[in-house]
């Protein structure tokens, strides 16, 4: 029994070019795998970005800094930038303060239902901003539960609680969203801390507070600063929360770009603002990346110190206070708006009714410009499905390349920072500018939206897949190769089955992101093909109880579908995986 002899072509004959991309004799050749994601990034990211640069710095063709400088010269521009940073700073501080007790709880103690609490705290994070906005509206808005109840109980004329449309509402919304980042990132790091230095400090005479300040805090500093920076970045690029909870009185860079582009049709101005926004968010992304690399190098985040503290049962006033506070936060702050959303959507003109839901199927205007809201749901589901497929089709080869050692991996990993550090509205504007004219008049094509969503989801998809792929033991691949599996067979037989869970998680992530995406969609949407978030936004802005009810009903449905996706993600993902 003989096996095939040597092939005619020799590996040694392929020359220098290979060494840049080849990391192991067993891997698929990196260069063709790299091609698809890079091509995608080039056409659907670099090009739109270039269009923004062109429109801001060379609006009439030649380099002309005039319009750009004019925008920079306006006081309003600077007040917008100032407010962007101010609201982000306030929100971040509030988030950290609210989240720290929860981090303390997760980090040090064990109690029944701990896993549930941690999972529940993560639900807000993946909820679409529209749902959150609708939820707060349903709780604290003029037509919301609290105001309606107070008005009927005390016989008031005007709604007494006026939280929406203020800076407090914005901060509240951000805290709602990002507290889970503090709880998880800092909490998990806390749980991994080596207990021995702390014990040593106590035996050397340090009081509990002193020991915390001198030992625990410095050890937590890397994760705390990373989490804080992440929260700040999200708050800077926040769109839906500002728009809905803040209202027209407030303008951040993100909402201003939208306003200039969509309401004032002032594309050059929007482009310059986008440039500023890009510099800001990319800078923050780089800073975050720098912190993460530094922390990884020092091994502080990996628990490399070895000993793990055993979590204690809840005991003592500090622990109980933390538990109580966290429960109030999770159930009160996070749960109340969502419960109000569901509840309010079920209240019609005569008490409980499903009228709002029934209305979703009706196209009351019967005009070509409006579709039955239910159609928007179907559109969103379809787009989300296509997004998941695109994200996986690109993410799998990208993750494969990144999980191998080598220059190609580092290059691609760095390239991923770019879409991560680009706000959604910026991307949307880029698409508007780049794809409006032939031969690339894709602006109205239905597939452009899933492409945009896939680009937004791309870094998250890849980050979910890389650890799974790195977890596949090299030995198993070697064993398969020795047994006769060519590189494609190795991927098919070994890698893919072993990462199947991560693939589902990555797909669910992309699906959820697409479902709730509003920033880019707001710029690219067409009236005859709305997505659910856009429809919710439209209906929220219109007077009338029925419209409001429908908005809430759609938000509830959106929330439930997203929650389903989260359940899938939480169920399949291992504990303390990276966000």
């Amino acid at each position: 029994m003989t096996l095939a002899g040597p092939r005619g072509e020799g590996r040694s004959a392929r020359g220098e070019r290979d060494r840049v991309f080849r990391s192991s004799l067993l891997a698929l050749r990196s260069s063709p795998l790299l091609l698809t994601p890079l091509l995608f990034l080039a056409v659907f990211y670099a090009w739109p970005l270039g269009a923004i640069l062109a429109r801001s710095l060379a609006p009439e063709g030649g380099l002309d800094l005039g319009p750009g400088l004019a925008v920079l010269g306006r006081a309003s521009t600077w007040s917008v930038i100032g407010f962007t940073l101010w609201q982000a700073a306030l929100s971040t501080i509030a988030t950290v303060l609210v989240g720290l007790p929860g981090a303390y709880l997760i980090g040090r103690y064990d109690f029944p239902g701990k896993r549930w609490l941690r999972a529940l705290s993560g639900v807000p994070f993946v909820l679409p901003t529209l749902v959150v906005g609708a939820g707060f509206s349903a709780l604290l808005g003029d037509r919301g539960v609290v105001n309606q109840a107070l008005m009927s109980w005390f016989g008031l004329e005007a709604p007494p609680v006026q939280v929406l449309g203020s800076l407090s509402a914005i901060v509240l919304g951000h805290v709602f969203y990002n507290t889970t980042l503090i709880i998880r990132l800092v909490g998990d790091a806390w749980a991994r801390l080596d207990p021995r230095p702390l014990a040593a400090a106590r035996t050397l005479g340090a009081s509990p507070i002193r020991a915390f300040v001198e030992v625990t805090l410095p050890l937590l500093a890397p994760s705390l600063s990373m989490a804080t920076l992440l929260v700040f970045t999200f708050d800077v690029a926040s769109f839906g929360v500002i728009l809905i909870l803040g209202g027209p009185r407030f303008a951040t860079l993100e909402t201003e770009i939208y306003r200039q582009a969509m309401n004032l049709f002032n594309l050059p101005s929007a482009a310059v603002l986008t440039l500023i926004q890009l510099v800001l968010t990319l800078g923050l992304a780089l800073a975050y990346n720098g912190l993460a690399s530094a922390a990884a190098r020092r091994g502080l985040n990996t628990g490399a110190t070895g000993a793990r503290p055993r979590p204690r049962p809840v005991r003592g006033p500090m622990a109980w206070a933390a538990l109580g506070f966290t429960l109030i936060v999770v159930i009160g702050l996070m749960g109340a708006p969502l419960l109000a959303l569901v509840g309010r959507s079920l209240i019609g003109s005569e008490g409980l009714s499903l009228a709002a839901y029934a209305e979703l199927f009706v196209n009351r205007r019967a005009s070509a410009f409006y579709v039955a809201p239910f159609q928007a749901l179907l559109n969103s589901l379809g787009i989300a499905g296509v997004t998941a497929l695109i994200a996986l089709a690109l993410g799998l080869p990208a993750a494969y390349v990144i999980s191998r050692p080598g220059r190609a991996a580092r290059m691609l990993d760095a390239a991923l920072l770019l879409p991560l550090g680009t706000s959604a509205v910026s991307l949307g504007l880029g698409y508007l500018l780049a794809f409006s004219r032939a031969p690339v008049a894709w602006r109205s094509e239905p597939w452009l939206l899933p492409v945009a969503h896939a680009l937004i989801a791309f870094p998250f998809t890849v980050r979910s897949l890389v650890p799974a792929w790195q977890g596949v033991r090299a030995r198993l691949r070697q064993a398969a190769a020795v047994l006769g599996a060519n590189p494609w067979a190795v991927v098919r037989e070994i890698d893919l089955p072993l990462i199947s869970r991560a693939v589902i998680v990555a797909g669910a992530f992309a699906f959820a992101i697409s479902l709730g995406e509003f920033g880019a969609t707001a710029l690219l949407t067409r009236p005859e093909f709305p997505t659910l978030p856009v429809a919710i936004f439209n209906y929220l802005g219109q007077p009338g109880a029925l419209n409001y009810g429908q908005a809430l009903a759609m938000s509830t449905i959106l929330m439930l579908v997203c929650a389903l996706a989260i359940v899938v993600i939480e169920g399949l993902e291992p504990e303390d995986a990276d966000v």
Binding site: L3, G5, P6, E9, A479, L483, N486, L498
Partner: protein
């Protein structure tokens, strides 16, 4: 015939394999013996095609395999940690290589059955590999490597992960399986355990720090170790520095000694190997002798193994010798032993 010709491999600053050449014929079992880190596993990787040599060639039947990727070489490799596919059951693991060959389902079923029977695991087909014991996993790994009837079979410390009792039992079985497996592959058996190597192999290659020190049958290695490292690694006895004066005499710290040296011994500076059984039965008046203090005493089946501390000239040399129990005093006592020149071997120093 597998020919490894002058193969070299370095990883960054460390040379893992340094100009190693050896040949293994079909049906022959060659052990590659050496301490951890000597490059023996790297050698297997190079032969299997999992790594590319910096220089040299790997040939089968005279033809170079350097351009052939791993999955086409037809070599089997059994890893030290088995590397069983956790997401497949025992049958699917063993059948993997056969599927890659494109065999028909019926043939696969037959061959897997035969392989499992050969390793004593008939009926284990549907078991999940993660529930198996260490010994069972090892057998599945062996069956998986053998099923495709490779022309070369490489085993990387196959018994390394098992406890001692299991190891001794399995060495025997392994020998039986390897000798009776159809297809008579050339077998390369990597280990750090000298007893295993000697029990299984037709020839043994001793490696150190990437270099091949000596290749030969176990008898040749024992009778004529080519340098101090081999003698020491094989545990043949103590080595004392010596300078050869003429044909059969060498100058030692204790005066001139007559000795036996292998026919190919050259050079004047080197060591004298005092074999474990060098103690002469009766004490002749003249002749080589050693005096020292007993610092260890271990009764064994063939006599008492005594450790004699010579304490000469600043550096302390301890010599293990096997004595009859009546000649072996207690620890702490001094002892003079006459040595049988026929059990003293001169080993020249290599530069």
């Amino acid at each position: 015939m597998l020919d490894v010709v002058d193969v070299r491999k370095r990883f960054e600053s460390k040379v893992a394999v340094d100009a190693v050449s050896l040949s293994v014929a079909p049906g022959e079992i060659m052990a590659v013996l050496g301490p951890s880190g000597c490059g023996k596993s790297t050698l297997l990787s190079l032969i299997a095609g999992l790594e590319k040599p910096d220089a040299g060639d790997v040939r089968w039947a005279g033809e170079s395999l350097l351009a052939t990727p791993t999955h086409q070489r037809g070599f089997g490799l059994m890893f030290q940690d088995y590397a069983l596919f956790p997401h497949r059951d025992v049958f699917a693991n063993v059948a993997f290589g056969l599927r890659m060959q494109g065999l028909a389902t019926e043939s696969i079923r037959e061959r897997v059955g035969a392989a499992l029977e050969m390793v004593g695991l008939s009926g284990y087909g549907r078991r999940s590999v993660t529930t198996l014991s260490g010994g069972e996993q090892q057998r599945v790994a062996l069956a998986r490597a053998l099923a495709p009837r490779p022309r070369v079979l490489m085993l990387d410390e196959p018994l390394g992960a098992l406890d001692r009792a299991l190891r001794e039992q399995l060495v025997e079985e392994l020998g039986r399986i390897l000798h009776s497996w159809e297809g008579r592959p050339a077998v390369l058996y990597v280990t750090h355990d000298q007893a295993e190597a000697f029990a299984l192999a037709d020839r043994v290659a001793v490696m150190r720090a990437g270099l091949l020190e000596q290749i030969g049958t176990p008898d040749v290695l024992v009778q004529g170790p080519v340098n101090a490292f081999v003698a020491d690694f094989l545990g043949l006895g103590a080595l004392v520095p010596a300078r050869r004066l003429s044909g059969n005499t060498a100058e030692t710290p204790w005066g001139p000694w007559p000795l036996t040296s292998p026919a190919n011994a050259q050079g004047t500076l080197g060591h004298i190997l005092i074999r474990l059984d060098a103690a002469a039965g009766s004490a002749p008046v003249e002749g080589p002798r050693l005096t020292g203090k007993v610092v260890g005493r271990l009764p064994q089946s063939l006599g008492v193994r005594v450790l004699l501390d010579l304490g000469t000239q600043g550096e302390s040399i301890t010599v293990p010798l096997i004595l009859r129990s009546e000649h072996a005093p207690a620890v702490g006592q001094s002892l003079t032993v006459a040595l049988n020149p026929e059990r003293l071997t001169f080993i020249a120093a290599t530069s």
